[in-house]
Symmetry: C2
Subunit: 189 residues, 2 copies
């Protein structure tokens, strides 16, 4: 069965017993979570969320990108969240490369015109592609450090009110546990 | 009980019966979902995902921002996803304002030094704040149109390979159903 069919069949089952059609738009528990897109993470499960409880923002690494801050400001200003969690995780793909490596990989892979199974194949016209050099991939060297940096970046953004608490955690993909990053949560007060 | 305590207690329960500690980093079902941060959406539930299955990227609106594209390119190039879903939803907060309204609201609210319950209070030093004018809030006028635009933006990005299918859907928060946006999925082939 194709992925598309599988997703649509799963959705049919979900909708068939759906009883949450009357939830309001603002998150009921008034908080937001910023975390990684990693497939092993299910924030609703690991943080105990039901539909309607909290905003969940996810990107590669769970980083405090400009776009994550756009989302957080909307979450606060228009939809009333008053506490935020920044949650990175162990064994993150963002630790496996650097900005330079990513740019080089993309640049060299894109020089070939052939499509191969590795995914490193041509997607640009012409001889090579330097697009990868213009993106900050927001790689991670150390999880506790990246959580701290992201909490500090969020707290110091001019559109983020000073009184919102931002908590820093690392999710352990081996145990399912949230590990506190006290220096980040301290900086997020 | 505070939100922080509630989340940590829920996590303790999750970790106590955690049996997914051996999952590999690449998503097992080799696809990624881009959707909105909205609290009412639980992508794992509405699309039938278990831990380890698929990348989930979420921001305000589920928009194909530069950061979402950063995440999708990493998802494909480093972690092997080969199909992507763009899923916006009915009753989205991003339909309730425009870029100009958001900039004006932030600008005027930030002029006051007082903290109030509405969330529209001072977070910058000095007389007013024009920071909101420098952010593209990626608001939405029409869901089917925004899904189409985002699929087209993803497909035309120089780092996105031409052969990856991108499917377009709208999630109905009243029924829990995924509604196809055929013109987007057609553009995403």
């Amino acid at each position: 069965m194709s992925v598309l069919t599988e997703v649509l069949m799963a959705n049919r089952d979900y909708a068939a017993s759906f009883e949450k059609g009357d939830l309001p738009m603002p998150p009921g528990r008034r908080f937001a979570v910023l975390t990684c897109m990693d497939a092993r993470l299910d924030p609703a499960k690991f943080a105990g969320l039901s539909e309607g409880d909290a905003h969940v923002i996810r990107n590669a690494g769970g980083r405090a990108s400009d776009d994550a801050i756009r989302s957080l400001v909307i979450s606060y200003k228009l939809l009333g969240t008053r506490e935020w969690f920044v949650i990175h995780h162990t064994d993150c793909g963002m630790e496996t490369f650097t900005n330079d490596i990513m740019a080089d990989l993309l640049s060299s892979s894109l020089k070939t015109a052939s499509v191969d199974e590795t995914g490193w194949h041509d997607c640009c016209e012409g001889p090579g592609c330097t697009e990868g050099k213009y993106i900050n991939w927001l790689t991670i060297k150390d999880q506790a450090q990246s959580v701290l940096e992201d909490v500090v970046r969020i707290k110091s953004h001019p559109l983020v009110p000073g009184d919102i608490p931002v908590y820093g955690f690392i999710y352990d993909v081996r145990s399912g546990s949230l590990i506190a990053v006290p220096e980040a949560t301290e900086a997020g007060r």
